[in-house]
């Protein structure tokens, strides 16, 4: 939860996902959409903001042979970068195989490397492709207007991929984040193909620590708080 200091308007902190951990530091990635982000964009180095965090859970990384599939829609791609990085670190695969023995890791690397779908409205809004290169992931990019990558929504591209790779993918784990309608559609797709996975949700929230009960989502076990039990939920537990 982040706010500018001593502000009455905007009043409440806003939830942001963490983009990247860089040792002691971390980065957030935001789009200027409202009052708080408008103030944020005018901040200069060494200006102060107020942050409480990290809060809530994160994506569970399940070790195994399966190749993770990451799907990010628009700004929803933000929390998936750190996930991709963690998956690679936890799979204990060096980001670059030693030049002398490329065969040592190359096979395993391909097995574990996440398949990463990134979608956005237009070229300008496609996030962090260069950063992904540094961890040797080549994403499957799509834009609604076709200005970069394949033309279409991230889900239409994912759907195409699914049809041609279904046998390979049936046991693989999905991770997704994006606008609500996208995640809802995705859950229909995954249900149809008996796929499972995790999604990160966003809701209006006031406190971020589980007290105000603002950010609830409907699940098979009743309302759960996005800030505390979430923001990551398994796809099957959300009632849309």
């Amino acid at each position: 939860m982040l706010s500018t200091v001593n502000s009455l308007d905007p009043l409440l902190k806003r939830p942001f996902s963490l983009y990247r951990w860089l040792g002691q530091d971390f980065q957030i990635l935001y789009k200027v959409v409202g009052r708080l982000t408008n103030i944020l964009k005018d901040k200069k180095p060494h200006d102060t903001v107020e942050i409480i965090g990290p809060l809530g859970n994160g994506f569970p990384i399940i070790k195994g042979k399966d190749k993770p599939i990451l799907i990010g829609g628009g700004l929803g791609s933000v929390p998936l970068f750190a996930l991709a990085e963690s998956i690679i670190q936890q799979s204990q695969i060096p980001p670059r195989p030693p030049l002398s023995k490329p065969w040592l890791v190359e096979g395993r690397w391909e097995d574990f490397k996440p398949v990463f779908f990134i979608g956005a409205k237009t070229r300008r809004e496609v996030l962090y492709i260069d950063a992904l290169k540094s961890i040797r992931i080549k994403p499957i990019v799509s834009t609604d207007d076709g200005s970069l990558g394949q033309k279409g929504t991230v889900l239409s591209v994912f759907n195409k991929f699914l049809t041609s790779n279904f046998s390979v993918l049936s046991s693989h784990l999905l991770y997704a984040c994006g606008p609500k309608p996208m995640l809802q559609e995705l859950s229909h797709i995954t249900k149809k193909h008996s796929l499972t996975g995790y999604i990160a949700l966003e809701e209006n929230m006031a406190c971020g620590i589980g007290a105000c009960l603002s950010c609830v989502v409907n699940t098979i076990d009743g309302f759960k708080r996005v800030c505390k039990e979430g923001p990551v939920f398994s796809m099957e537990e959300i009632i849309w």
């Binding site: 706010s3 009455l8 308007d9 905007p10 009043l11 409440l12 902190k13 107020e50 409480i52 809701e203 209006n204 929230m205 006031a206 406190c207 620590i209 589980g210 007290a211 105000c212 009960l213 603002s214 950010c215 609830v216 989502v217 409907n218 009743g222 309302f223 505390k228």
Partner: protein
């Protein structure tokens, strides 16, 4: 005069002696647990827990909040775990701390109010009850508990008979004459009143033409409502003798002192807890500092100190 002596911040609300006049407002502090990682609960005057009913309640569908200029609208819908679960799972945790535990509760009928008050009074460790007769997010018809003086009198009378604990009645600002409601509560046996609950409000998305809250209307809180709340505390102060717990948009020690001067014997912090979990501690420190600077040795000299 011992100028450097720490000023006395103790206040009395009914049978309760609070170490300082700052408490957490119901609905903004969960059951205390949620904030315990951030706040030293031993430092604050009292914790008023999220409103409880006999049976658990699911609350309203989301979106449940929306921010408005210097305020927020909420329509949580009194989601709570129910009195039994609170006593079993949450109260033992709260009891570890050196603070007063005030339980906010509500019912859907006078009978339910009485039953809830009886059950809470029989539990060990609860110091006072705050009767919620003023939630703006309950179904139509419920609001009569807090807006029809006859019904208010009846329900407070009934609960008074059911408990020996300090009884606080939380008043609605959504009435024509809050001083009258304060008097009704006092006459019916309340030991104290707390005010204000949130003001009913509404916000609309002009593109979709839909209300921003699933519940359509919600309760407005935050700094935006503070002047209204201060005025209402002042009006009630003139009408009743029992202590008033003042609240509504307090975010700083200066805000809290305004309420004390208007006649509040204690203050509750609500929305500001969301903005910064340490707000209450800052306010307590700020009040103390103000008193030292102004050479005021006892908080009672601030309470009702308005000159006009």
């Amino acid at each position: 005069m011992a100028k450097n002596k720490s000023p006395n911040l103790k206040v009395k609300i009914g049978k309760l002696i609070l170490k300082n006049p700052v408490m957490a407002a119901s609905g903004t502090f969960g059951y205390g647990e949620e904030y315990s990682e951030f706040v030293n609960l031993n430092k604050i005057g009292a914790v008023v827990v999220k409103g409880l009913s006999l049976l658990p309640k699911e609350g309203n569908p989301p979106p449940r909040i929306v921010e408005t200029p210097a305020g927020m609208l909420n329509a949580i819908g009194l989601q709570n775990i129910g009195i039994e679960n609170f006593i079993k799972d949450k109260l033992p945790f709260l009891k570890q701390f050196d603070t007063k535990i005030i339980v906010n509760f509500f019912g859907d009928s006078i009978k339910e109010y009485v039953k809830a008050a009886e059950r809470l009074s029989s539990a060990d460790g609860i110091h006072a009850l705050e009767m919620n007769i003023s939630c703006p997010n309950k179904q139509a018809g419920w609001s009569i508990f807090g807006t029809d003086p006859k019904v208010t009198s009846k329900v407070v009378h009934a609960v008074r008979k059911a408990t020996d604990l300090t009884l606080i009645v939380k008043l609605s600002p959504n009435v024509t004459d809050i001083a009258l409601m304060a008097k009704v509560a006092e006459d019916a046996g309340a030991d104290a009143i707390s005010l204000i609950n949130t003001l009913t409000g509404m916000a609309i998305d002009i593109k979709t033409r839909k209300p921003k809250l699933a519940n359509i209307t919600g309760g407005l809180s935050g700094p935006a409502i503070k002047p209204v709340a201060v005025r209402m505390v002042w009006e009630c102060r003139k009408a009743v003798r029992i202590p008033i717990i003042g609240m509504g948009g307090i975010i700083s020690a200066e805000d809290a002192i305004e309420f004390l001067l208007a006649g509040a014997g204690a203050v509750a912090i609500g929305t500001a807890n969301f903005i910064n979990p340490k707000t209450m501690q800052n306010i307590i420190d700020g009040i103390r500092l103000f008193m030292i600077r102004e050479n005021i040795n006892d908080i009672k000299k601030l309470i009702g100190g308005l000159k006009c």
